[in-house]
Subunit: 166 residues, 2 copies
DNA sequence: TATTGTTATACTCTATAACTATA
DNA sequence: TATAGTTATAGAGTATAACAATA
């Protein structure tokens, strides 16, 4: 095994240039993690463009949608639901409050907890942003038919939904 | 508009707790970016576990596979192929050299460029890691059939392959 | 002047540990 | 003592600007 195969390291001290421009044909094309990362990069790029005007990042958008769906959600529950850590939620909610989009209210039964609610303007903005997000998803996946887009979403959900315990 | 609709903000200064535990039924479930991020998080978690023993992160693994497929690739081409910036490639290649997995060789025609080659031990490790990566992909997507896994890969490629100019 | 590789820098994202106030 | 929220901090990952060597 040490002599018969063509060596990878060059025999000379200087070599000709090699300029690949794609990963086609590489085993990388078969790697799910790589494909997910590249696809996500593209979808997020479109998302960022669509949201730039509002200075809303993915995490903030997700928080808005969850709070809209569960008015009064506690910060710890929000952390669990979004799969992020409590300290991040603090910054997220603080930012929402600063911008007048949400407000914290102490829970009466457990005064350690805070329920989070969208303000009126938070509700309005969230509705608007959901429309923008949908459009940016469509733009980012122009290469897919409507059926394929639904298939993709279904398959992705199947992957991340089975998160079990660890 | 100020009186007829149920206000989102609470009337009281204290409220009952709300503890959602999933995003089911939320519009978030329809967002491609969210689904991609969650799926990627899971696949990367499995990948990290599989590679922990070798201290290999996704970017390093991708670099190894590209160099294996294109022996002598220049750093700028590697950057373009992986969709990362030149400064990151510097660190990546430096790390590979430090670990004896790859080496830089000046190009004879354009002495500004460096061709990157795997060492013998880099080749061996890359082959081994590719096997581990394949297994970790399978483990992370146990919820999918073989056909579904291929479908997912095909759809993701369709999305990121149409990256055009912007 | 333009390009390859490099250094320095900064900014975002994310994770951890420790603190407070309530329970 | 345990938990919700908070603060401080540090580490990845990523992007930008500026520089040296070469073209």
């Amino acid at each position: 095994m040490t002599t018969s195969k063509k060596a990878a390291a060059p025999r000379q001290s200087m070599v000709d240039e090699v300029y690949p421009t794609s990963v086609e044909g590489l085993d990388l094309e078969e790697r799910l993690g790589y494909a997910l990362r590249r696809a996500q990069l593209k979808v997020f790029k479109y998302f960022d463009e669509a949201m730039r005007e509002y200075d809303v990042r993915p995490a903030l958008f997700s928080a808005l949608v969850v709070i809209e769906g569960y008015p009064g959600v506690t910060q710890s529950s929000l952390a669990q639901t979004l799969g992020i850590d409590p300290p991040r939620v603090v910054n997220l909610v603080h930012s929402l409050e600063e911008r007048g989009l949400a407000m914290r209210v102490r829970c009466k039964r457990d005064r350690r907890s805070h329920g989070i609610f969208l303000t009126k303007s938070g509700e309005t903005l969230t509705g608007h942003l959901k429309g923008l997000a949908e459009q940016s998803d469509l733009a980012a996946t122009q290469a897919l038919s409507e059926i394929e887009r639904r298939q993709l979403l279904t398959l992705l959900r199947k992957v991340y939904a089975s998160e079990e315990t660890g």
